[in-house]
Subunit: 343 residues, 2 copies
Amino acid sequence: MEGKAITIYDIAKEAGVSTATVSRVIAGNYPVSEKTKKKVNSIIKEYNFHPNAVARSLSSKRSRVLGFITPEITNPFFSQVFIEVEKHALEKGYSVLLGNSLNNRKLESKYIRMLLDQQAEGIILLGGLINDIYPDTNQVNDLKEIEKKTKLVTINGKIDGVGSLSVCTDEGKGIEMVVDHLVELGHSKIGIIGGMERITTTQVKIKAFKQALKNHQLEFKDSWQIYSGYDIESGDSGLKTLVDTNTDFPTALIGINDMVAIGLVKGNRKLNRDLAFVGYDNTDLAIASSPELTSVSHPYSDLGKTAIDLMDKDLDNKNHKDIILDPILIQRESTLLKNLKTE
Amino acid sequence: MEGKAITIYDIAKEAGVSTATVSRVIAGNYPVSEKTKKKVNSIIKEYNFHPNAVARSLSSKRSRVLGFITPEITNPFFSQVFIEVEKHALEKGYSVLLGNSLNNRKLESKYIRMLLDQQAEGIILLGGLINDIYPDTNQVNDLKEIEKKTKLVTINGKIDGVGSLSVCTDEGKGIEMVVDHLVELGHSKIGIIGGMERITTTQVKIKAFKQALKNHQLEFKDSWQIYSGYDIESGDSGLKTLVDTNTDFPTALIGINDMVAIGLVKGNRKLNRDLAFVGYDNTDLAIASSPELTSVSHPYSDLGKTAIDLMDKDLDNKNHKDIILDPILIQRESTLLKNLKTE
DNA sequence: CTGTTAGCGCCTTCAA
DNA sequence: TTGAAGGCGCTAACAG
């Protein structure tokens, strides 16, 4: 491997100019005469020279590296956001280091440490700590500390006291759209399954759910709201709980996310009740399901673009930016197969 | 942001030793007396000092950064492999830069370029170019060039002429296990749907499929093998083609991967034929499906571990390593609900 | 066991 | 518009 790499110095010598000049034509930020520029460029091409990004980072104090930390990149919601972030990062010349924290706070901290050591110019947090209603004080303090050293952008989450830049989808509005849609179809008995009590996004959704019901003069029934988690199994178990604790039954069920909704659909294969289902996040799973799931989509591309914009712009740190984007309701078979009103 | 970072120099001064000594206690690779070690460490803690990884890379010529390039991290198979790779990378102190090439060869090259510039110590390739039966000559030459500069490890794919280290699952064997399983259950009419003709993994599977049928004295019917792609829609469309072009119909269908199998299951909801289904990769989708899919699992953790081991070990470049791991058949409802033999 | 001293490859003032 | 020269923060011989 590794033949001795060719450096800016070699190019300079060959072109009969100084390394400073070579550096300038590469960066293109200082005036260089057309003539020398051409000369240098031709030599660069001839040697197939590519500047060493590490040396560059050290010298310029700009690593052009961003970090992205998320609990589970296998979760389609997270990976969907990631690819959009990365896409826009690439456009601005950033590389992205991905850290998969497995929902483990220790690992999360370890990755943050690594990113700081790597002089990451910014760290993007999605899921994990930033959605914890009771975040560990030490970790929060760490984040505050980190903010002094690098930019912090959170997606769909935020931590009190940490003045990070954030972008999120209005998940309350998303749930409202779902309820409106279901009511429109004639449903008045709606349940919401999944999530965990101490997770902010779950709370946002449930709060919005209650409000939306109220808007339609519908009653919120405690026993139709069940915390059970975020995976397929959580849908199944949530449905079981619902059955076990209710005689009166909803006609429509909202899953806290697509995976839970799939679990609900699956669980109902045995029960065979006539139910409408709604998911959340509009991941590939929504289409994998049959019936295909009505789901709320995040504006993924915008989410990614905004996160990168927040990194990129030289925002005043005191000018805390919280950007909120609108969700999109995607209607599919799982609610549309039957319209209660027309029966 | 950015207060003036504290450096090894500050620590040295405060501890009354040289920077070399500080460097040594941090690296822990050279002898330092217990006493000075303690002293230095206490100062490091006191100042909460963390060495600048960039400076370290430049000086030591070891970036401790790996690159991972894959077409679509949202594809559960790819992301599953990724998290295992990353997990083992972390254990060895590597960070991983992820590049999502979107199956675009240009982007693939761009990411490779970025990784080279970042002095990545190794690049892991999964999917994309390395599974192309007719790879572009220029790109292959590029890869050869790259191999001179960094380590190249390919997962589940390989390029002729590029002596890269590789690790893969024996996908032929996987298909053989599937066929054996189906035959065991009494199936003799088996189809295989999905994939693309010019992709190596598809070819491996189909070749193995033919051989497995032969082993059981079963006939391979051309019209029961349909290229259609890799996503859910491909399953659906593949099934349509199957219906359109056959009067005699299989009793069992193998999807080239889980997504295709899901598409098959979904498509069959309308046809309502009595079929057994098998997927491949054993992703979360296999469980999301109902009936849950019998599927072939890769030894994901081993795959990741091996890839990192190949990076890490100082292997002789001429000693080309191709490591082949065994797949695992996971039996689930989609084949087990009915045993033709017992009817 | 520890300090001195060159760099690693590039950027960036400061002069010219 | 260009060159000289001193870092960036750390590592790694080479002495001692």
